[in-house]
């Protein structure tokens, strides 16, 4: 019998999407593994998710304190080993602060906290999350954040674009880009990026809230399917 991929979800003080992430993993056929931020080691896990929320009350900067949590050394090692790490919303902010992803996330243009469904366009299949998709695919997913404006300095942004590190862009239901489809002012409509190796992915939208037909859009399903398939293909 093939085993189910084990996916760790880290709970920081102030995380609040950890349970939804654990539930989504289970619904999609993986084995969820809860992990406490104070642990120095990760349990045996094929992938790690840093969930959404407001770790440490967003003090100093979003994700700024969480990057120094004891468990983060193990997350860095997991990432350096080429294994998948996904940061969602606050998890994305933490990965940027930790230097595992390029760029940074600042207060939304317009300052408003934005909570709604929208669409993102897949820009690359070269990540475990998008391996089962093709560039141009459009997914409907929810966002809910106050500090999701992706920024990078011009030379860093050029590098991100040249190296194909953009994974998702905000778009219309038909996949068109435009300021009216950009909820937070992110430069180049960027909703998610990856590391150069491709195994670390961060995204502001919430795939873990988009896997259950009873309560929302289903744009998260193909992302979890991709991740689980990637993990099964790579099971050691």
């Amino acid at each position: 019998m093939s085993r189910r991929p084990r996916i760790a979800v880290i709970t920081f003080p102030g995380s609040n999407d950890d349970r939804d992430a654990l539930r989504a993993i289970r619904l999609m056929g993986g084995e969820p593994v809860p992990v406490w931020h104070g642990d120095r080691e990760l349990p045996e896990a094929d992938a790690v998710i840093l969930p959404g929320g407001f770790s440490y009350g967003d003090y100093l900067r979003t994700g700024a304190i969480a990057q120094f949590a004891p468990v983060m050394e193990a997350v860095r090692a997991h990432a350096a080993d080429g294994r998948p790490v996904l940061g969602i919303c606050n998890g994305f902010q933490i990965l940027c602060e930790a230097g595992l992803l390029p760029g940074a996330l600042i207060r939304n243009r317009g300052l408003a906290f934005v909570c709604r469904r929208l669409h993102v366009r897949v820009e690359t299949a070269l990540t475990p999350m998008t391996a089962g998709l093709v560039a141009g695919d459009v997914l409907e997913v929810p966002i809910k954040h106050g500090e999701g404006q992706f920024v990078a300095e011009p030379d860093a942004l050029a590098r991100i674009e040249d190296q194909g590190l953009v994974v998702f862009r905000y778009c219309s239901p038909g996949g068109d880009l435009g300021e009216e489809h950009n909820p937070n002012g992110s430069v180049n409509h960027i909703a998610g990026v990856r590391s150069e190796q491709g195994n670390v992915v961060g995204m502001m939208p919430h795939p873990e809230h988009a896997v259950d037909p009873d309560v929302g859009p289903l744009g998260g399903q193909p992302l979890f399917e991709s991740l689980l398939s990637s993990l099964l293909a790579g099971v050691r």
């Binding site: 602060e97 243009r109 990078a152």
Partner: protein
């Protein structure tokens, strides 16, 4: 002996500061029209224990270079989006 410092952290000039923009709009809604370029940053104050030497300025320079700059780069600011400045709040130990 202890010295007191402040670290000021600001978003880099090239980045639009949404908070500063909102404050600027509020100021203009008061009818004050000659204020512009409002930017909001952080002021972090901290005490550092250092060796007791006659020349305070030397000690302060060492603390800034060896302690506060590394801390500001690693924790107090995010060099991707912010710049910082450090200054002593007094020229002598408090």
């Amino acid at each position: 002996v202890k010295y007191r410092f402040e670290v000021v952290v600001m978003l880099k000039e090239g980045l639009l500061d949404p908070q500063g923009k909102a404050v600027e709009n509020a100021i203009q809604s008061l009818g004050v029209s000659n204020v512009s370029d409002v930017r909001v940053g952080k002021n972090i104050q901290l005490t550092v224990e250092a060796s007791d030497e006659a020349d305070h300025r030397d000690v302060i320079a060492d603390v800034v270079a060896d302690v506060l700059h590394p801390l500001a780069e690693k924790v107090l600011s995010n060099p991707v989006i912010e710049r910082f400045s450090v200054r002593p709040l007094r020229e002598d130990p408090r």
